[in-house]
Point group: C2
Amino acid sequence: MPKIVDHDERKKTIAEAMWRVILDKGMEGATVRNIADEAKLSLGALRYYFKTQDDLLVYAMELVQKRASKRIEAVLQQSLSPRELVIAVILEIVPVNTTTRIEMEVWFAFIAYVKHRSDTLVVPDDQILQMTEKLMYFLQENQLLKPNCELEREIERLYGLIDGLAIHAILDPDRLDPDRVRKTIEYHIDSICR
Amino acid sequence: MPKIVDHDERKKTIAEAMWRVILDKGMEGATVRNIADEAKLSLGALRYYFKTQDDLLVYAMELVQKRASKRIEAVLQQSLSPRELVIAVILEIVPVNTTTRIEMEVWFAFIAYVKHRSDTLVVPDDQILQMTEKLMYFLQENQLLKPNCELEREIERLYGLIDGLAIHAILDPDRLDPDRVRKTIEYHIDSICR
């Protein structure tokens, strides 16, 4: 009797295998052959789930984005003070643990790779700008922002800070460790809140 | 009579050809063949100046760093107020014109590529953290920082902001245009200064 395989689960398994290959070998090592080996599948089986390498690439990028969104949704369900909520949401994106580290590192590798081919590829958005906007509107609606804060500039500044800290945490994790990431974000949020 | 070639100039020409290939095709297109074609040299001539591709890679990275340092040195010679000086130095790094854009884009491509091979390659440091430290010490020594600023956190925050804005300006130049980059940096510096 043939094994019953959950189609969606198998696609996730392959995408996660692609993540591991990227973390280990970089995008230049993320060949279909290496990904199939890592997923313990034949090339034919991999091609059954993803017709082209681009299909897999886009799926693997979307999976990063979906996982982060799901964790952020869970944070929003917790009963936290506005300050704690904002910080908790940011810490689901900036690398402070293995999950966020892997996701962010894979995302940056994707972005560097697809930069030169966005003419042929619809690159998923990471939604971090939209999330930053929501966080700032939330602080403003709760009248927590200091009166001299300019909303548009604060959005740009926090958005830059999130991705800047993320890239530094990935490139130099010994210096910018999770505790230091957390303290910097807390410091920033406290500096703009009453 | 053979042409007299300035050895250093020729190396710079090759490194700049590598930059252009990276901007156009990404690191995966930066083959020795493509770089030689772009520099209008034979493979043999290129190999005369750079024995290995890694030699060229490191030289091309160092050239980005040296050019930025030279421009920053020139800014420091200008008679500017401390606030203007700090902003002018930052704007020599964050992309606001073609020069800084090319340098930063090439640098990110380098970094994404060498991340997985730093075991065999001595990667030059971009010196942005060190520069950020100097700028903050300078503001502190001139007693310009607001009294509630914590120096260590301010360094981390500005360092993150610089690279975050840089990566966003490269990935989405229509949204984060030079004027918006400049205003965000001015806003940040004004927020921490008396």
